[in-house]
């Protein structure tokens, strides 16, 4: 039987294997080991959700706990990358990019271009994304669209453990800066993961379900909601292609367009807020390039244009649901 790992374990294994493979790889972040300077255990946390647990003792000197100082350490990771290292910086929550965004979008993203192609910045910034953790407005956002907007950055958001390992390894080996978004509600979800190292190329969407009636394009946690919706729709005789984009920049337009040209119907599902989102981006692309194939208006299912609320009663209706997706698909079918 093939081995199963949770996404948390898969990410840990990817970091472990890449550090073992390449001495220029090291990881840094707030509390990625934890317990520094205290009188208790080192590696007390292994990251706030235990993703990096165990790496500190396994790779001495290569798991660097940082001060709570995102600008400085994310910038230092970027600077080290420009000097030939391959650092993986953990930003904990992607929401914290507010305090270090300059380093990401004005420095890392721009070096290659503004230095006339003569710089490479192979840095990975890992961060948790997404709602559903009762973590309220500043620890729950799906800010993937903001990074996707910026030329020079690559944006990755896996939906399962297998993809997480392969995409993280690719991110580390990639020579461009990568924002690696980990949905915190997927950490515990298990899939089969090979023990060996492997890299999943960017810009290759995963078609996780085939169907000829409609195309659902999504990524991250929403892949699971879309699959639930597609299962429910199948019982009503509606078969959907479900496309997991996996990487948002670069993005696999061909898979999306091929599918829509076949199905003629598109529903974009995005946990981000609706304006200038991945959903609106995909919608615009399809409307431009595959308009003649469309048999119905494009559907979009996203979070509302609000911050993420705290109360479970509100957060649960903030996150797009399988029912909403299912309804949106049926609307495109004229039902």
């Amino acid at each position: 039987m093939a081995r199963k790992l949770s996404m948390r374990q898969a990410i840990n294994e990817a970091l472990d294997q890449e550090m073992a493979r390449d001495p220029t790889v090291f990881i840094m972040g707030e509390d990625i080991a934890g317990g520094q300077g205290g009188q208790g255990e080192l590696d007390a946390w292994g990251g706030p959700l235990g993703v990096t647990k165990g790496l500190y003792h396994k790779h001495p000197g290569r798991v660097l706990d940082t001060p709570l100082s995102e600008s400085a350490f994310v910038g230092a990771a970027i600077g080290a990358a420009a000097c030939g290292m391959r650092p993986v910086a953990e930003l904990m929550f992607l929401d914290f990019m507010g305090v270090c965004f300059d380093q990401i979008f004005n420095q890392a993203a721009k070096f290659k271009y503004m230095f006339g192609g003569k710089a490479e910045t192979p840095v990975v910034v890992r961060a948790m994304v997404g709602a559903g953790f009762r973590a309220a407005a500043q620890h729950s956002q799906m800010l993937t669209p903001i990074f996707t907007h910026i030329p020079g950055l690559k944006v990755v958001c896996p939906s399962n453990a297998y993809d997480a390992k392969g995409l993280l390894i690719q991110s580390i080996r990639d020579n461009d800066p990568v924002i690696f978004c980990e949905h915190k509600n997927l950490y515990g979800v298990e899939t089969e993961v090979p023990e060996e190292s492997y890299a999943i190329p960017f810009a290759e969407a995963n078609v996780v379900r085939d169907g000829d009636d409609a195309t659902i394009v999504t990524y991250g946690l929403m892949v699971h909601r879309a699959m639930d919706a597609a299962d429910a729709l199948a019982k009503k005789g509606i078969e959907c292609d479900v496309i997991d984009l996996r990487t948002l920049s670069p993005i696999d337009w061909d898979t999306v367009l091929d599918s829509v040209e076949r199905t003629g119907r598109l529903v974009c599902v995005d946990e981000a807020n609706p304006r200038c989102s991945i959903a609106s981006d995909v919608s615009a692309k399809v409307a431009q390039d595959a308009f003649k194939s469309l048999k119905a208006g494009i559907g979009m299912v996203t979070a509302p244009h609000t911050p993420v609320p705290f109360s479970p009663a509100l957060e649960d209706i903030y996150i797009p649901s399988a029912a909403q997706i299912s309804e949106a698909v049926q609307r495109t079918m004229g039902k």
Partner: protein, 327 residues
């Protein structure tokens, strides 16, 4: 010739002079070309501050990295970036150091350890920490140097970097080029505690203030702080008190200057004149030797300007290249 009393050989003294003269010629040329409307955008000139960049950079090799500021031409030249390609870059030409995609504020040459001028004030400090971290991780004895102006030293990035460098004991030197003005605002207004040594002390780093117009003061002090960092002695801060001959950017009328201030600094605090008179009076070099360098520097800049002006602009296809290594 008298016995050389300086801590540098005659050859090195002449090198220092040549670097400073080249920077001065470069900046003065930009000043006139800008006034003629030949240069797109805007430029920030390093004239008057040459001794600091030169005195520090003479201790560095290509494996040492610097993160520069918006006022980065002098740092580039002192770090060994090709002057012609710099000039072409500032004119926005394909032959530019960054193929015309960066301009004055983004000249970089990583092969020379020049991690880029930077249009974002204070942004270089974390990058220099990264360079120091890489050097420390590799154990190659390299250092990272962060240049920051007195104005940008108020940025959180700079202060966070002081802390990070101290916590990780990084081989990083924070050089505060204190020319007294953050754009048009005097540091007395904008810096609550107008002492960078105090700031360093607040983070547990040793800080030193030197007269940035005195090449030898900068050279000797920089030598000590860089040696300390290379040997694992950790980060430090070097404040160079200096003067800016031109405005914040070209076109700045400098109405904020006190009466006679500019005339005074040009007459009495010109670091190149001070350096030249010191080495001539000591009898180590002759005025003729310096004049020859003056002519060569002028010639070099003349050639660079002619090259830059006649060079073709980037092809339209260049718009779309160099965004990613692969995409």
């Amino acid at each position: 010739m008298a016995k050389n009393p300086f801590p540098l050989s005659k050859e090195k003294l002449l090198d220092a002079y040549r670097t400073m003269r080249t920077i001065r010629e470069f900046e003065e040329r930009l000043h006139t070309e800008f006034a003629k409307g030949e240069i797109p955008g805007f430029v920030h000139l390093y004239a008057g501050e040459e001794a600091a960049g030169t005195g520090i950079m003479m201790h560095l090799t290509d494996k040492d990295r610097i993160a520069s500021t918006h006022r980065g031409h002098g740092h580039c030249i002192a770090k060994g970036v090709d002057v012609k390609s710099m000039m072409a870059e500032i004119f926005g030409k394909a032959a530019g150091a960054c193929r015309g995609k960066g301009g004055s504020m983004h000249i970089a040459d990583l092969s020379k350890g020049m991690m880029g001028a930077n249009g974002i004030l204070g942004a270089g400090a974390p990058l220099a920490c990264g360079a120091g971290l890489a050097a420390k991780y590799r154990g190659d004895g390299g250092v990272g140097i962060s240049f920051v102006g007195d104005g940008a030293s108020n940025q959180g990035t700079f202060l966070e970097s002081l802390n990070l460098a101290a916590v990780w004991n990084l081989p990083v030197i924070f050089v505060v080029e204190n020319n007294g003005y953050a754009e048009s605002t005097h540091r007395d207004y904008a810096v609550a505690v107008d002492s960078y040594v105090d700031r360093a002390a607040g983070f547990g780093l040793p800080g030193v203030t030197v007269d940035g117009t005195d090449f030898f003061a900068v050279y000797e002090t920089a030598g000590e702080v860089i040696k300390r960092a290379r040997e694992g002695g950790g980060p430090s801060l070097l404040e160079c008190k200096m003067v800016r001959f031109y405005g914040h950017f070209e076109g700045d009328q400098q109405l904020y200057r006190g009466k006679g201030e500019l005339e005074d600094i040009r007459a009495n605090r010109d670091c190149i004149k001070l350096f030249a008179s010191r080495i001539v009076e000591a009898g180590v070099v002759t005025p003729k030797e310096l004049e020859k360098i003056d002519r060569e520097a002028a010639q070099l800049i003349e050639e660079a300007a002619a090259f830059a002006k006649s060079a073709p602009p980037p092809a339209p296809a260049e718009l779309l290249t160099d965004v990613y290594v692969s995409y």
